[in-house]
Symmetry: C2
Subunit: 400 residues, 2 copies
């Protein structure tokens, strides 16, 4: 017989209070609160607390965090920001850190106990580390497979053209289990936008996978690269499977160019990932969403070589997005939450997500009257369910 549970007295974001019938890990029916549990169905009383769909962590690096290790003071750049210099610091620090599997587990658990039930992690691939990071992270992914869904992106952290052998390694990474192929600053890192994108989209076409490109390149340069990504996406009919992460350029150009680029992004089905960074311009959330662009979010760096911050909490991330975007009304606060839930699911191509019949029963339960209050209050006590199974209680992981 199917495993089944009835989660009674569930307050939904629409204000209704219902009983959620879960069968085989999926929502089977939404019944009136107080409905009798069918025979053999376990009844769980959620006590009128708010039920939110499991959070979608859209951008994280499971291989590089030092969360849970003894404190590592931040090492500043010697002169201005340089991706290559930071990668060198990262390599040095990782060399003396705990094993990658251990670090990935800690970071995963940090996210999990706060309500993330699906994530997309970038995994560094380059001529030096080759597929070693992927091997470690893929092993941890398998280990946690029943508690969290993880997409992996083959991420060319040291560039593609300038790190010989990386093109082949990216392809091998996809064959070995990466769900998407990544890219990184085609202009400033590889000094050849077209050849960089040739490799990335070449692998995407050959292997039938999606694309998620890190793009820090600013201003009109960054917008040009976004345009090229959109054109290639349409040429290969990859709409809905391509994302540009960071895309700072969109926060740096005039309103006219932004509007034209937003239109192109929407038409091309290219999503934008932003963490709503605290100290510099970022893609303006409201105009992009209004133009029909899928804008989602993630934690990005958590206590790593890049900065000392990060908490893996996607509800806090919604709060940060709201703050940074001057989102004050209920509708705006709900938009911020959408970026860490439904919009994230759309960007990740999930078709069985949300508080709807048929979707995976992935949800977080917390004390708030509705989504806007959850976004401003960020209650830390949360119960988290994956496929109807309790994985965290009161913000702490349930040991299995």
């Amino acid at each position: 017989m199917a495993r089944a549970q009835l989660f009674d007295n569930a307050l939904l974001p629409d204000g209704s209070c219902v009983a959620l019938l879960v069968e085989d890990g999926r929502f089977a029916a939404f019944l009136p609160a107080g409905a009798a549990a069918p025979e053999g169905v376990e009844r769980v009383d959620l006590g009128g607390k708010l039920v939110l769909p499991g959070f979608v962590e859209g951008h994280i690096h499971l291989d590089t965090s030092f969360f849970g290790e003894p404190w590592k003071p931040h090492k500043p750049n010697t002169s201005g920001f340089s991706v290559r210099e930071r990668v060198r610091f990262q390599t040095e620090t990782i060399a003396t850190a705990d094993p990658m599997r251990e670090r990935a587990r800690r970071q995963l658990e940090l996210c999990l106990r706060q309500g993330t039930t699906t994530m997309r992690s970038h995994v560094m691939i380059d001529a030096e580390v080759k597929l070693s990071h992927l091997e470690a992270v893929a092993e941890v992914r398998a280990e946690y497979g029943d508690r969290i869904d993880i997409q992996l992106v083959a991420f060319p952290q040291s560039g593609i053209l300038t790190s010989p052998g990386t093109a082949e390694l990216l392809d091998a990474a996809v064959v070995a289990g990466c769900d998407l192929v990544g890219g990184l600053d085609p202009a400033t890192l590889d000094r050849d936008v077209e050849k960089h994108l040739d490799v990335v989209f070449g692998i995407a076409e050959k292997r039938g996978v999606g694309v998620d490109i890190h793009l820090h390149d600013g201003g009109t340069l960054g917008v040009y690269e976004i345009e090229q990504i959109c054109h290639r996406t349409r040429a290969l009919e990859l709409q809905g499977q391509v994302a540009v992460s960071h895309a700072y350029a969109l926060g740096q150009v005039d309103a006219g160019l932004l509007a034209r680029t937003a239109e192109l992004l929407a038409e091309s089905g290219v999503a934008i990932m932003t963490i709503a960074p605290p100290d510099h311009a970022f893609p303006p959330v409201a105009p992009l969403r209004a133009a029909g662009v899928t804008v989602f979010s993630g934690s990005d760096n958590i206590r790593d070589s890049w900065w000392p911050y990060g908490d893996g909490d996607m509800l806090r991330r919604a709060n940060v997005i709201g703050h940074r975007s001057a989102f004050f009304t209920d509708a705006q606060l709900a938009e911020a939450f959408d970026m860490v839930s439904a919009a994230g699911a759309k960007a990740l191509g999930l078709d069985d997500y949300g508080l709807v019949v048929g979707a995976k029963a992935d949800f977080a339960v917390l004390d708030a009257a509705h989504v806007p209050e959850a976004v401003v209050a960020v209650p830390s006590a949360r119960d988290v369910y994956k496929g109807g199974r309790l994985v965290a209680r009161n913000g702490a992981l349930v040991q299995v």
Copy 2:
């Protein structure tokens, strides 16, 4: 006999682990960890947790928060931001809210249980509400007098010249118990910088109190007003007793004008309060501090008519300051914490603050290795002591 306690195994920010001897609510000696408690002295084991000086909440509005009430959706401005329109919304919302004393208590307790042991609250004074807000808040201040020190600023929320009778009310408010006299956007609200400042500094001189002026006026206009405030501060020898709150202008002018204004502020002993607002320019913390300006912080609005955010947590505020200022190194993270502790104490004119012998034994105890880690992790479980007396345990208020 004096009330005395020995707080053993206290990890201090400098990394030493000591026993803090507290007598009559003040630090009497720092002894080696494990020192025997003198006879009749209660021994409290802090278990090696980090001890931080009680946080200084430098800018709050105890009369206007709706924290703890049923959700009040944010009402946006009808066209652009207008202080007067927001004040009207505020008046409407307060009319149907819980009694002010009740709301002030809730907000106070929110701050207290997170580690704030000293605060400066602005209290609205205008021709309509007259001294009614002050009466309510002063009563609550007295009620909590043994758990938190509160300075009150007579705050002309509706302007001074344009709200007839306010000048006299501000003076009466100081006589009735306000510790400082406030002002608000002399140019854009009252359209007369000099007459507005005449009233404010006139009361300061007459009553021997300090000044804390809200200044949202931007760009060179705001800088001009800051200059005028500095000149008046020096003329009246009020150095160290004057603050400008918000001072957005300092984040909007070129580096040369900023540097000159910073020098003037430092020479004039005029402090700058910033919450490090999330969505617009603010006084740049590092250059101001490097120039010798006292820069402190506060929560400002907490779930009120102005915005739905706010948590009353000054450690989280340090985190926000760090994020917004791109403070990544240990020294920078410590600077962010300084703004919610020692710099706040300096701005508020406290001479018995800090983890030093003779100071009030106001401190927070939490789980972190040191200040930088506390600032990035913002642990929510905190024990809070005021004058050596436990007022909150594990983030919850201790009932007395």
